[in-house]
Every structure is written in structure tokens, then in C-alpha cells.
Symmetry: C2
Subunit: 496 residues, 2 copies
Amino acid sequence: MAPATTRFEQAESDPEISKEEARPLITELRTELLKAQYARLENPQRSLLIVVAGIDGAGKGATVNLINEWMDSRHIRTLAFGPPSQEEAQFPFLWRYWKHLPAKGRTGIVFGSWYAPLFRLLNEKPGKKADIEQLAQSIREFEALISRDGVQVLKLWYHLSRDAQKRRIAKLESDPDTAWMVQPQDHLVARNFKTMRAAADTMLELTDTPFAPWQVIPSADDRMRNITTGNAILSALRSRSPSPPKLNAPARSTPPRSVKRPLARVNYSVSLSENEYDDQLAHWRGRLARQVRSQAFQNQQLVLLFEGNDAAGKGGTIRRVTHALDARQYCAVPIAAPTDEERARPYLWRFWRALPARGHITIFDRSWYGRVLVERVEKFAKPLEWQRAYEEINQFEQQLAESNILLLKFWLAITKDVQLERFKARERSPFKPFKITEEDWRNRGKWAAYTRAANDMIDFTSTPHAPWHIVPSNDKRHARISVLETIVKALDERLA
Amino acid sequence: MAPATTRFEQAESDPEISKEEARPLITELRTELLKAQYARLENPQRSLLIVVAGIDGAGKGATVNLINEWMDSRHIRTLAFGPPSQEEAQFPFLWRYWKHLPAKGRTGIVFGSWYAPLFRLLNEKPGKKADIEQLAQSIREFEALISRDGVQVLKLWYHLSRDAQKRRIAKLESDPDTAWMVQPQDHLVARNFKTMRAAADTMLELTDTPFAPWQVIPSADDRMRNITTGNAILSALRSRSPSPPKLNAPARSTPPRSVKRPLARVNYSVSLSENEYDDQLAHWRGRLARQVRSQAFQNQQLVLLFEGNDAAGKGGTIRRVTHALDARQYCAVPIAAPTDEERARPYLWRFWRALPARGHITIFDRSWYGRVLVERVEKFAKPLEWQRAYEEINQFEQQLAESNILLLKFWLAITKDVQLERFKARERSPFKPFKITEEDWRNRGKWAAYTRAANDMIDFTSTPHAPWHIVPSNDKRHARISVLETIVKALDERLA
């Protein structure tokens, strides 16, 4: 057998601790764990997500039970995932982990984590190098994002020597009362130990990061395993000042002054007559109606996202789209202030939560781009937060694209004078008083700042898989037709 | 053809309104609708749930679009349901409607509502009278419960004469741009009109209640349909003082003083030695472990519910149960203060939300019984609220039983002196300081009131399908074994 790699050397020496040595350590550990847990709950800045992974038959399950016993289990949620269900398989593989992120102050223990597919891939031979690197990168990005945004990630790898693993499961099996704890896969470990260890070594190497480090837990001896686990959790809980991975501010080249910014390149003078509009509306709406009722669409997931200046006509445009849809297949999600469940989690959480299943459509009326628009301009987000959001958003949309979810992003653009006309008209209209508030006038005062933010957004997040569609909207009729046409053509291409 | 019943007489006269008459009415209606919607949002006491049902091809879809246009659609959610998905079919038929109840202040429009199965049943011949009555009763109970608890229910039935319906769909079909709006079932209406009308008449008769009345909307003329709908919504929004259906306080016979109350009948002196305990624990835990891993269990849904005195040992007992389970198949839900998403909905909502799918187990550490325990004693609920909760809870559990969901309810009972010992021991223990707070001591001061509440609860909610298991818990070992044994035997019976 090859010599143990350095990473696992200590764990494979199967260290033990005697009952007498362990007792006082455990007493202190339990007291301190509870204190640390309560300190977190009183000041819920971050959640703690503990990834439990490792060699089969190393006692991971027993450890989770123990954590629940040592700490206050009312604030711990065990999140255990098996093979993805049919529903889960429709979404990016991280979807189900996103959905179950614990709230700030809480602790989540993840079994069957996002490392399961990577570990499986690494155990295959020949390993698919490109796939492996892509998966590892998605994982690094995911952990970087959530750890910057209030989720502390602690990753534990349970390890022991081949012989100790064999002995451990043999002992469990010999007693009819514990035999059920042994899983079929526990028996495969001894045979494939070398491959598994090599796979584990590569996996930990690829995903050991300063913000989400791996820790190897020696697991041959129950007491040693428990105490090492407890200590790992304790130091995680105690690391009070969140030290999120500081990305360098994105190296954005400021465009030279001679280059027109995206919104300055828009031709605002396009328009449609009422007759042209009626004809075209019926035409595109009819086509859209037939597309979304087609057999092919039943396997498609569609996300429509609308951003734009205040009074650019998002609501009216969205209604022209939904008129063609079956009310059972779409969900319109207006993005307003987050609920407290949403506020307690990374900002992208609520959007992951609203992604459409197959044959369904989610329409976002404002979106995750709030991070780099209103949150930037109004200073709700810190500069580093909104600056790194461009990259985070690109990664998020990349994952949607990889899952074959069609995302269409529309920016409805109007000029400052048209906005003024519409604000005034709204004030006069008996139906639209709710559409014009003090806040709208205040935002208008920051027209230049919002325009700069929108230009940056378009520059930095127009990607091949999710380009921005900039829709001149001074003429509402033209804007609506343009949006409908874009959707129909994109669907034509996708469903062909 | 039989003469129109009185209920539909007016709608089948296909009343019309001219464009000139309609215009000023609509202008006023839109203004008032917006005002009323905003008044609700500012003072979110209730949500409004609009049930849209009626004859196929009467223009229900168009009306929903219109409501979204006339009101501020950002605060309206269209909830459209088709045939239940495989997942939905596992649960009581009301589950999916529960899950999507709008928050207070908001408006939900329900398409494909809980009336769909009843209407289907009523159209069958021969109608199954018992099934029909049972379904109608579930619906009445559901609407009574949610309307008492902050959801206002407005039910609209779209109706028109047979000839008008034929004309309406023929007109839509004649234009290629609107032809897609016509559904296959729209063509069946004319042929089955008499049967459908009779079914509708019976359905409305069975479910027309003071707290959730039906309103028939004449639908032959678009303007008339729209205006009537708008007016119905407006008066619903305006009815400011919630007049929830006042149930009479449940006619509970106070038991004669000579009859011992349930908790006074408990034999608290039962106990197990450490050796007996170890043997039995291994035995029952092993059996449970095998049961939940069996093929038969993969179709079973299991709910375990734990209530009891403070310090009765709920946490420790739950851990003994979960040790036997696969972490992937259970979810432990500790019931603490509701989140704001939960607070904005009827109190049973968060429990509906947590029901297990097939092959899964939900363990409630405290539960919906909080309504008749802590909320009663601490006066968080008004007398009428907790008094009617007995019946509401029985109905809820009845629905679980009808869906083949196995519910086991445990009351862990200790005596006052044992509680005192445990409180003191907790104060001394370095591991359990979090388990004893000022509040526990305060609650202890209300021992008699809590005991009375628990006795009433046991008396009023021990039903054949969901009896209370009262577990003497002065001896923790005995309590744990008793719970495990009860679960194993219940599963044995169920899975046989």
C-alpha cells in the first residue's frame, strides 16, 4: 500500500484517548460549546454550516447525534440529502443546498453535501479532469459567496485507517442491536481504500480555502473523534469577527471618455403607431401563447427579469406578457423589502427560492440586480459588497445556464424628460396615485448615480449566456412589442 | 330545458352594460379599489383570498388579468392549481392551498381552487352522496378556520346562459389571435349545460356560508362581468371590521369533581433499572431502525408530536428516537416564536408547511397544541380563539388521518416535585444552563393552570384516529422505552 499522504497521516495512525483523559476534556468542551452557541444566538451575525463528510463507516452519523446532544439541539438543523429527487434534478446541483441554508445565529449540519458528486467523480476512472475542475470551481465559488454573506462554513472529513474501519464495522455488525447501523457501502471501503483516499486527497486539495478550510477528524476511536469534532466546532463558533474572504475589488477598466456608455447608445426615438401596435401585439402574444402551451415547453424553465428606470413601464409590459400565459404556469415575483426569513440569509437566497420548475415561468419585477442598483446608490450595501456582486451574479446566472434554465434580462430605458412627464401624469391619474411617491421623486434626484450604476451593471453582467436586452421605452408600445418579440424568438431558438 | 334556478336566473338573463354607461362606473371603481387595497396594506389585519370559479369559457382568465390591471398587482398573487402533482397527492387535498395562503394585507386569487374536486364529483352520475357531503364539510371547516384567523374569503361564480357561452367561445375562436384562449373543455359546456348547472347549484348551496358567501357574476357581457367583479372585490375590501364566524364556545361538559382528570390518573411510580433500560433500548431502537428502513415505510408518512411539562425530558426522548433514524428521513421541528412570515398567516399554517412526504418523519418538539396550552395560560390567545382550537385541531388531525399520515402524540408527564429536582439539577449542571431560565420558574408558578389546560387538551383532543399517549416520565428511562415501544407497535400495525 502506498504511504499515507501527509494530509491523512495523523488520522490513519488511529490515535486514541483514554476514558480518564477524555472525561475532563469533554466536561469543559460541552460547557464551552453551549456558551459559544448562546453567544452566537444572542448576536446573530452569522450562521454556521457544518459539512460532515468522510470515509463510510467512520461514525459520521454517531457524531451528528453527539453534536445534537452536546449542544442545544433546538437551534441545530440536520440537513441530510440523498440522491437528488426528480424535482431537485431540474435545478443547478446547488439549488437544494441554497434552499436549506440556516438563518443567522443557527447551525446546520449537512450530510450528503455538495461534495457527494465531486467525490463520486473523483472515484471514477479515468477521472474527467475538466468536469472535476468545473465542479470544484462551482463549489469554491458557492462557499466563497455564502461565507462572505453571513454563512460560516466548517468542513469536516472523517478519516481512519483501512484496518480500523474494518474493525469498526465488524464490531457494529456483531451486535444485533447495532447491526442496522452498518450500511452496504461501508463494506466497500476496505477494498477500494487506496482509490478513495487518493480521491479524498485531491478533493480536499481542490477545495481547501482560507474561508472554508477542511479539517480531518481521526475517527478510529470514538472519544477522539468526538472531542476533535467538538473542538473544531468550538473554534469555529468562537471565531467572532467574521473574516470573509476579501476579494480584490473587481479590476474593471473604466471605459475611456470617448466611448459612449450603454444607455447613451440607446435610440430612444423608436415608436409604433396604435394600429401597428395592435397588429403586432396580437401576433406576438398569439405566438407566445402557443409556444408556452407546446409539448416542448413542458421541459423548459424560463426566467424573465425586468429592471429599468422608475416609470419605464415594467408593470404594463409584464402584464402584456402574462396575458399570453396560463395562470397555472407562471409566478410573478415583485421584489420589495426582504422578509425576516430572507434577511437572515445571503441576498441571493430568495431568488434561488423562486426559480421555476419545468414547464414554468418566473417573472421577476426587479431582481438580484437591486444589489448593484438601489443598494449601491442608496448605500444599503458596502462598496465591497456591491462590487463583488457582479461576479457573484455572473456565477449564479452561469449555473442557471448550465441547468438549461432560460434567463432573459430586460432593461427598460427611458430618458429623464419622459420620466418627468410620466410622474406628472401619474400624479394626475386617479388610478395611479400609488405609483408615484416621495421616494420616486427622491430617486429622480439621483438620476446620474442610477444611470452610472445601470451602465456599470450592463457592462459587467452582459455575458454570452445572459446578455442584457436594453429596451428603449420612451414609446411604451414599441417597448412592449420589443420585449414580446425577444421572448418569442429566444423560445423559438431554444425549443427548436 | 328546466327553468333556471333562482340562483342563476339573473346571470342567465345575460345582462349587458353599454360602453357609455360603463365608463364612469369603471373610473370610479378603479379609484376606489386602489384606495381600498392601500388601506388594507397600511393596516394588514387580514388577507383577501378570491376564489375564481364558474362555467368554462365564461372569461375567468380575462377577469384575473383585469383585476391585476385595475389594482396594484405587486400585492396580488395569482395562485393557479392544476391536477395535483405526485407530491401534492400525498397530502390532504387542502395542503397545497394551505401552503400558499397569502400574508395579511395581501390578496390572493385562486384558480383551480378546492372546489374543483367537489364540482367534479357533483358532475358524476350517480353522485356519491356521502363523499359529496364529506368534501363539502371539509371545505366549510377550512373556510371557517382561515376566515376566523385572518383570511377573508370571497368566492365568485362566473355564469352565463348556454347560448351566450357558445357565442363567446365561437367569437374567440374566429380570430386567430384569440383562438388560443379557448380550451378544449370550453366546448363541452353547451352539451352538458343542464348537468353542470345543477351541480353548480348544489355546490353553491352546500358551501354558501355567512363567513364565505358565494357571489354569482353575470359573464355574458365583458363590461358587466368586469364591473360586477370589481364591485364584489371592493365591498370585500371595504368590510373593515372582520366579522369572523363566531362559533359557540364548545359545549364542554365539565367533568364531575368525583371523576379524576387524565393527569391525576397517571401512575408516576413506574421505573426501569439501568440494565433493563439498556436491553430494552437496544431492542426497541433496533426494531424501529429496521422498520423505517423497510420497503413498506417508503410509502408511509409519520408525524411524532411531543408535549409535556417543562423538564419532562422531551429533548432526551426525541434523541433516543432519532438515534434509530436515518438523518435523511426525518426533520425535527422545535416550535418557538413564529417568524414574521408565519405570524402573517393562520396559526396552523406553519405546521401544514412542515408535514412529511412519503418515507419521511416530522418530529414536533412542541406543536399546534401550544394554542391551548401556553397561549391559553399566558393569554396570548383570546378565550374564543383557544376554545375553538380544540375543534380546529381535531379537524386538522382528521385530515391527516384521512391521508393515511400516521400521527402519534405524546404527553410526557412529571410531578411537581420531580420538576423541582430537575430544575435544581439543571442549574447545577455545566451543560444545561440554557435549559433553565427565569421563564421556566415563572411557568412553574402557574403549575395548576398548566395542568388544567393539559387535562382539557387531553379530554377534548383524544380522538380515535389520534389518541394522546400519556407517558409517565418521573423515571426518564421508563418514559423513553415507553415512547419507543409505542412508536414501534403503531408502525407494526400500520405497515403490516
